[in-house]
């Protein structure tokens, strides 16, 4: 299947031609297929946020291209405007962009900019609100009356309502408690189920990324360190840790056990698969 979005040798240089010149990302290439769930992992300052702003044309690469269905999104103004609607971008702390008088109107901001009909807007807002678990009553409230978690979900709904084919979320769970994190993950899952859109999920938590992604892209210092499915990526856990990246706790535990001579696979990355691995070992009678 042809990929939905392809990034080709993306490089972005901040403040070119000044003493502050700095390459935020260097020669990054990857592609995203329809319906895929991708985790983009990297440290603070590894270029994650810069990279995602290229995917809908907010930033223009210093060199390289972003292709959406084979069309360069920076080829013309229209192409880049179309890309804005097909690639939805949720920024870090999205609740700080709420501005309308009611939650309903705030969620409707995106669809309205798309030029949809009044009825279509209404149905999309309702649908997006349902995906993030906001009830009818809160749609009529001012966004500033909502609780922190609700605000974040309302802001997510604002992007969901545009029904992007690729939803990019920049650290959507930053600053939330475990319950809030689970809620946001559930919202993303529910959006994905009802639309079948591809998701690019940016995080610095290997744990979260490993749990939900089909494929991982690991960034380090603005370049791709490794990419592949979680098992492939975490089979290189030792290298990841050497590069200063965190690996899931359970992977670290299994690495330690393996190094002490217990025959466990160190490429385990979720608690469930860890359990299976231990049961396998027990039944093998080697413990």
């Amino acid at each position: 299947m042809a990929p939905l979005l392809t990034a080709e040798d993306l490089t972005y240089i901040y403040s070119p031609g000044t003493p502050f010149e700095k390459a935020a990302i260097k020669d990054i290439s990857f592609s995203i297929s329809k319906g895929e769930f991708i985790g983009l992992i990297g440290h603070t300052g590894s270029g994650k946020s810069t990279l995602v702003q290229h995917l809908n044309g907010l930033l223009k690469p210093s060199s390289g291209r972003v292709l959406l269905d084979g069309e360069d999104i920076n080829a013309s103004k229209e192409a880049s405007r179309r890309a804005r609607f097909r690639v939805g971008l949720v920024f870090q702390y999205p609740e700080y962009q709420l501005f309308e008088e009611t939650v309903f109107r705030d969620i409707a901001f995106g669809p309205k900019n798309m030029g949809l009909s009044e009825n279509e807007i209404k149905s999309r807002v309702r649908e997006a609100a349902a995906q993030v678990g906001l009830d009818e009553r809160s749609l009529e409230l001012s966004p500033f009356e909502l609780s922190g978690g609700q605000k974040r979900r309302a802001a997510l709904a604002g992007v969901f309502a545009m029904r992007p084919e690729l939803l990019v979320l920049d650290e959507p769970m930053a600053g939330l408690d475990p319950v809030g994190r689970e809620e946001i993950l559930a919202c993303i899952e529910s959006f994905r189920e009802s639309t079948g859109s591809a998701i690019l999920f940016v995080t610095h938590s290997m744990e979260d990324a490993a749990r939900v992604s089909d494929r991982l892209i690991v960034l380090k210092d603005g370049a791709v360190l490794t990419q592949g499915n979680p098992r492939e990526v975490f089979s290189q856990s030792a290298e990841l840790m050497k590069a200063g990246l965190d690996v899931p706790q359970v992977t670290r535990l299994f690495m330690e056990l393996a190094s002490r001579g217990i025959p466990l696979s160190p490429s385990v990355y979720t608690v469930e698969s860890a359990l299976e691995e231990i049961i396998r070992l027990k039944e093998g009678g080697q413990c």
């Binding site: 804005r84 971008l89 920024f91 700080y96 962009q97 501005f99 901001f109 995106g110 992007v159």
Partner: protein, 268 residues
Amino acid sequence: MLKDITLGQFFPGKSAIHRLDPRTKIICVMAFVVSIFVSSSFLGYGISFAFLGVCIKISGISPKTVLKSLKPLIFILIFTGILNMLYTPGRELASFWIFTITAEGIRNAVFMILRIVLLIASTSMLTYTTSPIALTDALERLLSPLKKLKVPVHEFAMMMTIALRFIPTLIEETDKIMSAQKARGADFDSGSLMDRAKALVPILVPLFVSAFRRADELATAMECRLYHGGEGRTRLNTTVMTSLDFRAFVLVGLICLASCLSGRVVSF
């Protein structure tokens, strides 16, 4: 985008001018400005210009930067020049329609332009060589006698410091909010004037909300650290006047005096 705007025109450096106590610099610039308005001879302005030139040379700031600070004023310079030239009574040189150009008018016009140029260049030298925080600190200390008159000097200085501190933060915030709204399809660069004004609402509302939130948080943080105004407060870095400052005072005093009195010695 917005980040490219250079704010606060402070150029860090280690020159003698940078090392002067900011209070010294403020007083010297004030004395200098007074002297250029008192002075009324070309010799006087020659002295002032020469002195400013030496200062720029010592500070290591490129003369180009100083000239740039004058650029926005070209219109005002021309305007003042023309007005002075036309509306000063005196010995008539030429006249047409309702305008007359007088010898005194031309002299006045040239003086006025020189004064404005000197004024702007000397005050920009102050901001180029002094960090904004050092400036507000110095202002607070210079104005502290006014506290006796119940003027809240410390509070004003604190407000200025906080405002300066938050300029880059709010610019970054604006940038982020703009990107976020653009990602939702907001369009800031097309449409009629009215459309563009309306397009600012999605930026301004979150920006104000965030400014209030930050103000709230900062106030709480300051209270937690027992901030209670200026009373009994000491500073981390107290600037002390050194012999360098006294030499600067004497030098600037002499220069100002020379430029003021030069009109009495020579007649041009």
